[in-house]
Amino acid sequence: MSIFKNHKTSADRSASDRSRHKEKIKRALREGIYHIVSDESIIGQDGKKKIRIPVRGIKEYQFVYGDNPSNRKVGGAKGKSIKRGQKISERRRARKGSQGAGNEAGEEYYDVEITLEELGRYLFDSLNLPDLEKKKIKTILGEKTKRSGHRNSGIRPRLSKKETLKNKLRRKKATQFAREADAEGEDERFPFHESDLRYRHIKTKPRENSDAVIFFIMDTSGSMNKKKKFIARSFFFLLYHFLRHRYENVELVFISHSIDAKEVGEDDFFKKGSAGGTLISSGLEMAVEIMNKRFHPDSWNIYTFHCSDGDNWPEDNDRAVSLSSKLKELCQLYCYVQIVPDEDVSTLWTQGGMASVYEGIADGRFKIVQLSLVEDIWTEFKRIFGGGNV
């Protein structure tokens, strides 16, 4: 006879192993995070928004046979119409999951849900930014309120019911204790007394004001192709989240320019097609104009990032340089990002494009970055913000 019983749950037995696995995944995420620049429109999204990112599973290595012609697999066929040499799958694909006892190499992905805030934290905590960064973030004094204990007097709205009740109970117990010797006045009413009342105390604290505005300026001339735009976008993504991480209130201004400039919404900024020639000065001029009108440098931390492929009309160069010097004064950081995808390197690099025109005025506040691969973004990013060895 077999024995039957209801399983006595010993809690959730794999809980600790799962949390350890999650920790490992999150660490892997942190280490590889700069690979994740999602296609989603996440720039300008609320930091609370959750995104799902596939993270490559943590592999458990063993000796396994490779996926090559010497390693033949066997399977059942659907019909009789199969032939030798017939192709059944186009390319080597990473298989999902694994078959059998995990004896095959295959990519596994785990969806990790993460808020953009967390993402930012992972990103930038790992940066370990040195002191230099502090100089770049201007501190403007503001006030911040914080709770701090309780007081006997205060205004009604700050009455702390919990503390008040606690005091009443204390007093009641004490009274009962004192009375015990006497008679038993047990169920007498025991009302609140003036002296029971407690109020929350609030302190004001000075703190760094954290209003920042970021100007994203992008060249949308005909020469800015999709690939360049993707790099620009990825770079902007990092910048945005980095600055968001530092300031509480971040405003964004998107300016796109070809021959003339326009302030646009985020969607248009990244999606709009490219056409026309390039007058870099038009975009810069617009930025200066908006700053003067809406964002005074005394109360805003201003950051300006300009992405272009460096292909400017030569007659515009002087004007661009003088506007750039002006921007430099207005901004905490002004950064010119020149994007030249690999294949173009030979043609343009030798002449240097706009980057070489700017060279003379570059300094701690005005930085020139040259990007050719998405993989460079993180290194360049670190170079801008991290360390004095720029």
């Binding site: 039957f4 399983h7 037995r13 600790s16 696995h21 458990e60 490779g66 012609p69």
Partner: protein, 433 residues
Amino acid sequence: MSDWTLKDLKYWDDKIIDIAKGHGLDWFPINYEVCDYYEMIGHMCYHGMPSHYRHWSYGKSFERTHQMYNLGMEGLPYELIINSNPSIAYLMRENPLYLQILIMCHCIGHSDFFKNNRNFSETHPEDITTRFRNAKRRIHDYSENTNIGSKKVEAFLDAVHTIKFQTERNNRTRLSRRELKEKYVDVINSSNDYNFIDVDKKLISKDNDLLSFLIEYGTHFEDWQLDILSIVRDESRYFIPQIKTKILNEGWASFWHYKLMHKLELPQDCHLPFLKSHNQVIKPMVGKVNPYHLGFHMFKKIEERDGIDECFLIRSIHDDAAAIRCYLDLDDFRELNLFSYSTKSDGVTIDEISDDRGWEEIKLDLINATGMNSMPQVIVSDISDCGDLIIEHMHDGRDLDLEYAEQVVNNIKNLWPGDVKFFTIIEEDSWEI
């Protein structure tokens, strides 16, 4: 809610037992535990062992199963039973009565296989749960120990897990280092024709059991490390017979649940759902081999051709590779419609199909892809003069995945005080890592 109570299960259990005994099945007593699907996955990721030491990889296994379950990518295997005496089997609370009956029949098949198949003779099912529990406790103690700590334990387990199946696969008795030395001394004393080896430093003969080798020759290990090495080795030794007999074991269990269910006189409304579930389980898979399907096919065919005694013989002495080699012929391959395929530089193409020209090759490919044959084996070939460990892959025509091999070798380096050299063959040239 479910359409059954524990009383119903007992009622059917008595009937099943009578019929199964009448057919000559001989199994361990079975303890059934009724649990929900979440607990089921929980047990599955520890291979059904009631207690098991902790490691994040089991959490990963849970996440993967759970994810697949939620995506509907994979129905849970409808039974989970472990090779112990008494056998422990889990029944999922959500399943309807007919399915519980089917699973109980199926479990008797497994338990009979565990008890009688030669490959399991060294698994000691009578105390396996105790062994696992003790191992868990000891590893837990090492993690709590202030001189060791969970970080070190985890890192060590990570490294050992990369070679967890690099141990004896065929129950051969191992000669200890001392025995080997004595034998070698005998050889030297009795003949003049020998190579001189420094027996205290070098290897007398190649060693196909990397884990045991580390335990014997790794004088640098601390006690807790040696203990973990042997815990992992023992676990692998316990599971290897199951890996080697997956097809026969599932085939035997399916063969018997099918037989028993027909003898049970099920109520009418149970019969059709039973057939449906049965067919789902033994359904062939496109591009893969479903062990339930292949195993069921084999036993059914052999019963028809050679009688039921032959089936009992197979369940007693064979593993999957041997049974495929001995019993599958052209007709089977035609019927199973198997083909072999591999990945070339430009895509995956079919290499052979089951006609009279190709079936024998497919048979070899199938044997290679079965059980422990699907895992590469490495041997320790020597310790060099400067203490380096030399490991060789037993190349059988199939090349290793180099990325994985490199990572494993790096992990072995963490287990050996000297350097580690690894040799294999890639595209017919020797390769060193």
